[in-house]
Amino acid sequence: MIEFYNVHFSISNKQIIRDASLRILKGEFVYLTGISGAGKSSILRLIYMDDLPDSGMIVVEKYSTAKIKLSEIPYLRRKLGVIFQDFKLLKDRTVFENVAFAMRVTGAKSRDIKRRVMKVLAEVNLGHMRNQFPDQLSGGEQQRVAIARAIVNNPLIILADEPTGNLDYQNSRDIMEILERINRQGTAVLMATHNREILKEFPHRSLEVKEGRVIGL
């Protein structure tokens, strides 16, 4: 599902990932840990191909960095559900529109979009906030919108970057349960997190990013 082969990656002469290799199978649930600035978000960015590696190869589903065309990247991304660390919500759209947008780009029908978006908003306990704009939401509410958008398309893989950083214990558990349920339905989940309580309560395989390498724990 996701494979890194000796990946090197640097930005503006700064080596961020050096010789990282990893493999995540279909339907796996994997944590990505490491101290602040270790390179967790960079690894996720390489997976959704916002950046491409300097050397080595990354294979995500049927797409490989060795031969993917720029025009194919959007289609790769539609198979991924990404929860960005900084949420990346569209400021000029309501909660509903933000989540719906990810479905609209796939060409889904309005009626299906409406039904499905309402359903995932309810799952993250935000049904009543669908007409608010992002800057009218609390930090945790924004994070839950980002989560809703990531799962709305029933993706093959979920990339979750610190998805509970702004959530209280109960909301965090709810989100984890959603992710585990989706995972049980066959979706692979790769989740970067610092939350040791979560790691303990919802145990899964962990990978640690350290000095630019990925180490299985």
Partner: protein, 281 residues
């Protein structure tokens, strides 16, 4: 499906960034109005110059005591020339009246007899109202029997020809300049509004939108802005022409001007949006 998506997104984007849209439309209208205004001025100037050239005359002096029949025969002959539009006969009596106007005294004050010759005043067809054509025609007429002299304002004609070329060149220069300024202003305005939304552009792509899906709504928005601005500019132009008519009855407007303005607005709106959004794709 995808077209409908683009149109919907374009319309929404338009109302979403309302402040920026309003500012763009104001600026675009102003720039388009500028061009329309220039087109009207140059169109009217062209008309005025045409009127002015119409007044070019060649005066053909005939034998002093030529009979009326012969004068009329000569008039017919000259009228048949392809260059000639109208021929007016200045009889000896009319010439005497002109003398009075010019010199403040009647010819008959000094003489019993009128010494002034009859003449023909020639106005030219449109394509021949310039110095070379007039010179050629004058030479041709000068060779006719019974013609004593052919007079035209050679100097004036040269000056007119010279200055009118300059005026045309100036209009062309000013026009190109204004067009350039307007294009730059329109492009810059749209570019600024799109730069303000570059975060959104990035996010849309991260969520799986293709470049076309991101670009097309912006192009449609640009189209709409161009359209609305062009309509406002055309409205202002009509208003201006209407008001100006109170002072200058000659001002007129041709249907081509609204058409040019609208086409320019649409084209620039779409093109500027396209180029600007491509910077962030």
């Amino acid at each position: 499906m995808s077209v409908w998506f683009s149109i919907q997104e374009g319309l929404r984007g338009f109302s979403r960034a309302r402040m920026a849209s309003v500012i763009s439309i104001i600026s675009l209208s102003a720039a388009l109005f500028l061009i329309a205004f220039f087109l009207i001025v140059s169109l009217n100037m062209q008309a005025w110059i045409g009127e002015f050239r119409q007044k070019i005359e060649i005066e053909v002096f005939l034998e002093p005591y030529l009979e009326d029949v012969k004068i009329r025969a000569l008039e017919q002959e000259i009228r048949a020339f392809p260059e000639v539009n109208v021929v007016e006969i200045i009889s000896r009596e009319k010439a005497a009246r002109r003398f009075q106007e010019e010199f403040g005294r009647s010819v008959f004050e000094v003489l019993e007899d009128n010494p002034l010759p009859p003449s023909l005043v020639i106005r030219l067809r449109e394509n021949y109202r310039n110095a070379p054509a007039v010179t050629a025609l004058s030479a041709k007429i000068g060779r006719l029997a019974e013609v004593t002299d052919v007079v035209y304002q050679r100097e004036l004609l040269n000056i007119i020809d010279h200055y009118l070329r300059l005026i045309y060149l100036s209009i062309l220069g000013v026009g190109l300049l204004l067009l350039l300024i307007a294009l730059v202003l329109i492009f810059n305005t749209i570019r600024l509004t799109i730069a303000a939304r570059r975060d959104s552009i990035t996010i849309m792509q991260l969520v799986g939108a293709t470049r076309g899906m991101v670009r097309r709504p912006f192009v449609i928005e640009g189209f709409l802005q161009g359209l609305i601005s062009a309509l406002i500019a055309v409205g202002l132009v009509y208003l201006l022409v209407h008001l100006t008519r109170y002072f200058l009855p000659v001002v007129f407007l041709r249907w081509e001007i609204p058409a040019i303005i609208t086409a320019l607005g649409l084209l620039m709106g779409m093109l500027s949006s396209r180029i600007s959004v491509n910077k962030y794709l």
